[in-house]
Symmetry: C2
DNA sequence: CTGAAAGCGCTTACAG
DNA sequence: CTGAAAGCGCTTACAG
């Protein structure tokens, strides 16, 4: 009802100076037990809440960690955000979300970095791709940074081995006897703005090469990382030169591909085997074979890297490569394939 | 390289006072064109970025809107967050995310409201349920608030008509000839912490009553709003008293229910018709009949309500009830049903 | 239109 | 262990 209490009110009520209140409330040393209790009581009685802006201005720290990611509403990034948020909430740190969607947004992000550095103490950057020079500029700055999905060698990072993950997935399809395998999610030009996609493409091509196969242009289709994007890409791939299997760079895309197959009257896996990427819960429900990556753990680890640096950790750059696992399910099940072959 | 410029540096470089710099940079009136340009140039040359903490402390405004939601990584809430974020980013406002998961977290949220009110100018509260008294306390405060999924009558709100949505879904199943219809997502005790679920349950019961049917306990199963939760709930419902149709309170749950049905050797919709809620993209891909709600629009509208109040809008409380639409798809397709009947 | 000055509410050396 | 005082970097009446 009355105006909010400020530190001065607490000080006078406790009969001490504001400096002492500040120390006592933040749990700093050099405060006698008796004084501390007196202060805590006064603060309690006044329902005192420190003004964060004043504290941040005075201390030169924001108690905030920034998180940059391309979108908020895909399964993968929503889980990244949730993972980071959980860690920060535990430490009573604020989270500052920045959505960096597309090349223009990256430019804006870069331009606003000096401003951003005034409002966050550290940064988690997820799947943000920018020129080397800018990474180095960032590294020259004072802010601890951890990256997810990108490994610059300059910052603590948590990634997966996209090449291995993709070649595992491809090997699985090859082992099932497929020779015409399509790729949905990355075209030959993927690289600048989506390094992960480029690496997965490379892993796939390497696996094909080992069996003397290649990835002709008519078996590749890019598209947005969504159900609709996957569907459209699959439709592009259908026709005379249709593959017998597709590797999709996200589960959403894989579901879209299965949808397109269904509409075209193709059975999965009989006429078309499908592999996804991520292993979101829906994938298991649908029997979708997919590459599992431990999203929450990756996000939490990146957040913890930043926290450790904020606490003064000085060690060398940590570059964690997390394991992925191919989850083999119905969408590539050879038994189904056999079954279908019996039909034809 | 050198230390970051502050407003004083800009002032002296432009040859004006800091007050003038402040006005010029924020586009306030009463600054001559010539002066403004001089200031802008100086700011540009020094790559000046205002310190947000100082500005917020001095102005008593945070330029930040808070968003509270139960989780970040479900489809629905991820889209709520994305919708709010898009609106705020457009206005160059910061977003402060607060995850309020479960009753304990609600208590903590309430306890921290005084602190929160110092760091945000307004609040979007999504599916937050608390005692009437606390809503009134909030309404007594200075902060503009908009609610999503809750209509207290005290704040601008955007909701759907859960009763109608659920009875539409139920009517659809009844029209198809189902008489044993299960409910997944809300038990008889749902209410305190999940009003939407309680309302949907009521809508279902009303639709059943109109046909002289009821909802016996063995046809209800609560569970977490996830694929796994839906699966478990469905498994509970299977057995001697299994329903021929289920209404699930989220698409994730519906997908889990279909999964359980599949594992039990039941065909959808032949042996079990399934209806979901939300209409996420995957639902269409799977042919899942579901209630569509316009999530992004709801989120954006709530955010805009808060913005309008922040800009001084004084009108009466806005209570928007958004339309929902039942999307009829394969998972309840009567033709399939007929087809199956022919078999038996 | 412009400036001098007070003030926003904290934290942090510096003394004692 | 504790306090007085300066300072963090802005905004905003108040004058002119």
């Amino acid at each position: 009802m009355s105006r909010a209490a400020k530190i001065e009110d607490v000080a006078s009520r406790a009969g001490v100076s504001v400096a002492t209140v500040s120390r006592a409330l933040r749990g700093l040393p050099h405060v006698s037990q008796a004084t501390r209790e007196k202060v805590l009581r006064a603060a309690e009685e006044l329902d005192y809440r420190p003004n964060p802006h004043a504290a941040r201005l005075a201390a030169g720290r924001s108690g905030t960690v920034g998180v940059a990611l391309p979108v908020l509403n895909s399964w993968f990034y929503a889980n990244v955000l949730a993972g980071v948020e959980a860690v920060l909430a535990e430490e009573a740190l604020d989270m500052h979300v920045v959505v960096v969607d597309g090349p223009d947004a990256v430019e804006r992000f870069i331009a606003e970095l000096p401003a951003l550095s005034k409002r966050v103490d550290g940064l988690v950057l997820c799947d943000l791709f920018m020129p080397d020079q800018l990474w180095e500029d960032l590294a020259g700055g004072p802010m601890p940074v951890a990256t997810i999905g990108v490994d610059t060698g300059l910052f603590d990072s948590v990634t997966i081995d996209n090449v291995v993950a993709a070649s595992d997935a491809t090997d699985h399809l090859l082992d099932l006897g497929h020779t015409r395998i399509g790729l949905i999610g990355a075209g030959p030009e993927a690289a600048a703005d989506n390094e992960s996609a480029a690496l997965r493409r490379r892993g796939m091509i390497e696996a094909l090469r080992r069996r003397a196969l290649d990835l002709p242009p008519e078996l590749e289709a890019a598209g947005s990382f969504s159900v609709a994007g996957g569907k459209e890409a699959m439709q592009e791939l259908l026709g005379d030169t249709a593959p017998t299997a597709v590797f999709c760079l996200s589960d959403e895309m894989a579901i879209g591909a299965m949808w397109a197959a269904d509409e075209a009257g193709l059975a999965v896996p009989g006429d078309l085997a499908v592999v996804g990427f991520d292993d979101q819960p829906v994938a298991e429900a649908l029997g979708l074979t997919t590459v599992r990556q431990p999203v929450s753990i990756m996000a939490a680890r990146a957040a913890n890297f930043v926290l450790a640096r904020l606490e003064g950790e000085e060690g060398p750059v940590e570059r964690h490569v997390m394991p992925t696992q191919l989850q083999k399910r119905r969408s590539t099940d050879f038994r189904h394939l056999t079954h279908v072959h019996a039909h034809s």
